[in-house]
């Protein structure tokens, strides 16, 4: 069996076991359940950002925009009595539908210009959401109706859904990386001019990547909204939702399939330690982590481990 096949089966088996087993093992441990849910959501965002930022090499800061959009679409639909499963699907669709034209537009830009444009998407969506208060509750936020009920049940449910979404997103990343699309994205990242010269339709493939990356991000927002039970624009469109996944991927290994997994795990662990111990300097602590990471371990943990092994 090829190494790819083994990796895919390993992801499915371990992911499946985690989805089935963790909610049982962690039952009665609300703190650990919350931590693992947080990890799973971050993993979804990291793995989906990796498709654009890692595979394609476009420094997108739009993750938070799709996360927020998904959260609001799902919350509004659930407030109108739509079933949560449908709400998740609708959130994903909304993300994909927005990503199409937006991606087609901004992906013509490169480097800093692309980064700035992608960042602006979140700013605009945030203000529109705040302004359109009849639908979104504006600055007052939205309470998600389905969030009541037994806290244990909700926590276990959120854990299951977010874990499953994380496994699916990692598999999506693997599927893209190993496909014709992934090969094309590789070429685009390395040399877009040369890619065009050998027949790669860069604009089309980049847009596909952007859409495929936005869908899980939006669904993650929807899961988050249902889990937390209350959302407001400053929270779900926070630029941190765009930055944390990037840091997680850089921690784990840019453009790798398992990098987001390792990176998200380390990130959540570090954040938890920082958040608990230096309350008033938590954001600064993240800053220190970023600066140290990029100075000391710019390739990320996974590639550094791998290259360390081959060296010895």
């Amino acid at each position: 069996m090829t190494s790819r096949g083994r990796l895919a089966i390993a992801i499915i088996v371990i992911g499946g076991l985690a989805c089935a087993g963790l909610p049982l093992i962690l039952a009665g441990e609300p703190y650990l359940m919350r931590l693992v849910t947080m990890f799973s959501l971050l993993l979804v965002l990291a793995a989906s950002w990796n498709i654009v930022g890692g595979f394609t090499g476009y420094p997108s800061f739009a993750t938070g925009a799709f996360f927020g959009l998904g959260a609001y679409v799902a919350a509004i639909l659930q407030a109108k009595g739509v079933d949560w499963r449908l709400a998740l699907v609708a959130a994903g669709l909304a993300g994909g539908v927005l990503a199409g034209p937006v991606g087609y537009g901004v992906l013509r830009l490169r480097g800093h210009y692309f980064a700035v444009a992608s960042l602006m998407l979140g700013t605009i969506l945030k203000e529109l959401t705040t302004g359109w208060s009849d639908l979104t509750g504006g600055g007052m936020g939205l309470t998600i109706a389905g969030a009541g009920g037994d806290p244990e049940v909700l926590a276990s449910f959120a854990l299951r859904v977010s874990l499953a979404l994380a496994v699916l997103t990692v598999l999506l990343g693997a599927a893209i990386k190993w496909s014709r699309l992934g090969f094309g994205l590789d070429c685009i990242r390395m040399n877009e001019t040369a890619a065009a010269g050998i027949g790669v339709d860069a604009q089309k493939l980049k847009t596909y990547a952007f859409i495929l990356s936005s869908i899980p991000s939006a669904v993650a927002g929807a899961v988050y909204a249902g889990w937390i039970g209350y959302i407001d624009p400053t929270d779900v469109y926070d630029v941190m939702w765009s930055v944390k996944p990037i840091v997680a991927v850089l921690l784990g290994g840019l453009g790798t399939i398992l990098g987001p997994v390792i990176g998200a795990a380390i990130f959540v662990a570090l954040e938890e330690i920082v958040w608990r111990n230096v309350l008033s300097f938590s954001a600064g602590g993240l800053g220190v982590l970023i600066v140290l990471l990029l100075l000391v371990l710019p390739a990320g943990v996974l590639p550094s481990l791998v290259s360390g092994k081959t060296r010895s």
Binding site: R34, T143, G229, D232, D235, S280
Partner: protein
């Protein structure tokens, strides 16, 4: 017989820690998620000052009296960085990890509403010291209690007072921060104005974090209002007032909520603060004879002044009152169990330094009459209720 006793003793030894943890009669733990960083940090710090003063007072009295003996009180703070969902998580964590006996809600109506579901789930009483909107209390929850009266209790007396002083006023401009409390206040202001046959000639919102209001104020100036109502927090209001002055916008009446109650408002504006009218849920000029740990209002103000070298405002007072109210309820229930404490709170009817405390069926405070005041001679002068009035309403601003 003996064997049975031994067995029971062993069982008790195994179970005991769990009981102690649940009842926690060794100390009183209160969870208080606060926005210590982020945009709401100034408000979060105010709330914290109120709590800390109360804890200091309890410690000075030798502890928190419960069921005949005194236990130390500990407030467990958690910074939610001004992000509401993080506040909800913090509440959850405080209840499930720290096993707190009661919660003081995070700042503002939005966060209080969001986190009240946690209190309800785990049956832990939550006192909200800074939530006024009716929506917060209309959820049918049993464990949520609030120390702010509904928003119209601020705008209605203002309306009465302005109409009495200047019956000819017709044109009202409303300018509000696009945020929960200011929007709710503006909505009530609109109702109060329409009810009195006034015409709304300008009605705009500004984005959270705005610094420049010149364009909107230019537009407002063209609408030529006689009464301008601005809803926002202290920083917004200082900026709006300064820029009104810069543009020469001089309505007969200028009302601002909720900033003029803060000392930094008058400090920042000096003469430009003169004759700005406002209302708040509490003011250091009110006079109550409390049965709580602080007793008289003057006593509270004095202690606050001694500790922080500043006059308390309504947030600080309400936060300290949350502690005092919890104390009164615990004295009554004799237990720190959630349901018992909750019932004691629900049936409470007592006077405090903050004002009369009794909660309606929704958990929101009743009977409290928010004072209306106006900045005169560099300090807030209470105009209503008449029982504590210190002066008369004046028209015109500089």
């Amino acid at each position: 017989m003996q064997r049975r006793t031994v067995l029971m003793g062993m069982a008790a030894a195994v179970v005991a820690p769990a009981i102690v943890r649940a009842q926690g009669s060794d100390e009183l733990r209160i969870g208080a998620p606060l926005p210590l960083t982020g945009p709401l940090a100034p408000e979060g710090q105010k709330q914290k000052r109120g709590y800390d003063l109360w804890v200091k007072e309890v410690e000075g009295a030798g502890g928190f009296e419960i069921g005949g003996h005194r236990v130390p009180v500990r407030i467990i703070y958690s910074d939610y960085q001004s992000a509401t969902p993080r506040a909800v998580q913090a509440c959850d964590q405080l209840v499930t990890q720290q096993r707190v006996h009661a919660l003081f809600s995070p700042f503002g109506s939005g966060a209080a509403k969001a986190s009240s579901s946690i209190a309800e789930r785990y049956r832990v009483p939550m006192i909200a010291p800074t939530a006024s909107s009716r929506e917060v209390y209309d959820q049918g929850f049993k464990y949520l209690f609030g120390t702010f009266t509904p928003n119209e209790t601020l705008t209605e007396p203002l309306g009465n007072m302005v109409m009495a002083a200047a019956p000819a006023i017709r044109r009202v401009a409303i300018f509000s921060r696009n945020d929960l409390l200011p929007l709710a206040l503006s909505a009530e202001m609109k109702k109060s104005a329409v009810k009195r046959g006034l015409e709304i000639v300008f009605d705009e919102k500004f984005a959270i974090g705005s610094l420049d209001f010149a364009s909107a104020l230019t537009q407002m100036r063209s609408a030529d209002p006689e009464w301008v109502f601005v809803g926002g927090y202290v920083n917004d209001l200082v900026q709006v007032r300064t820029q009104m002055r810069d543009l020469g916008l001089k309505p007969q009446v200028l009302t601002m909520i909720a900033g003029p109650a803060y000392e930094e408002f008058t400090q920042a504006l000096h003469r430009a603060a003169e004759n700005i009218s406002s209302a708040a849920w509490w003011h250091p000029a009110v006079r109550y004879e409390g049965a709580d740990i602080f007793g008289k209002t003057e006593n509270f103000v004095q202690k606050f002044l001694a500790t922080y070298s500043a006059l308390p405002d309504y947030i600080e007072a309400s936060a300290a009152a949350a502690g005092a109210i919890l104390q009164l309820a615990a004295r009554k229930s004799g237990s720190l169990e959630g349901p018992a404490l909750r019932d004691a709170l629900a049936s409470l009817d007592a006077m405090t330094f903050y004002g009369p405390i009794s909660f309606g069926p929704t958990g929101q405070i009743e009977k409290l009459v928010p004072p209306v005041f106006q900045i005169q001679g560099g300090r807030p002068i209470v105009l209503a209720p008449t029982s504590i009035a210190q002066g008369d309403f004046r028209l015109g601003i500089t």
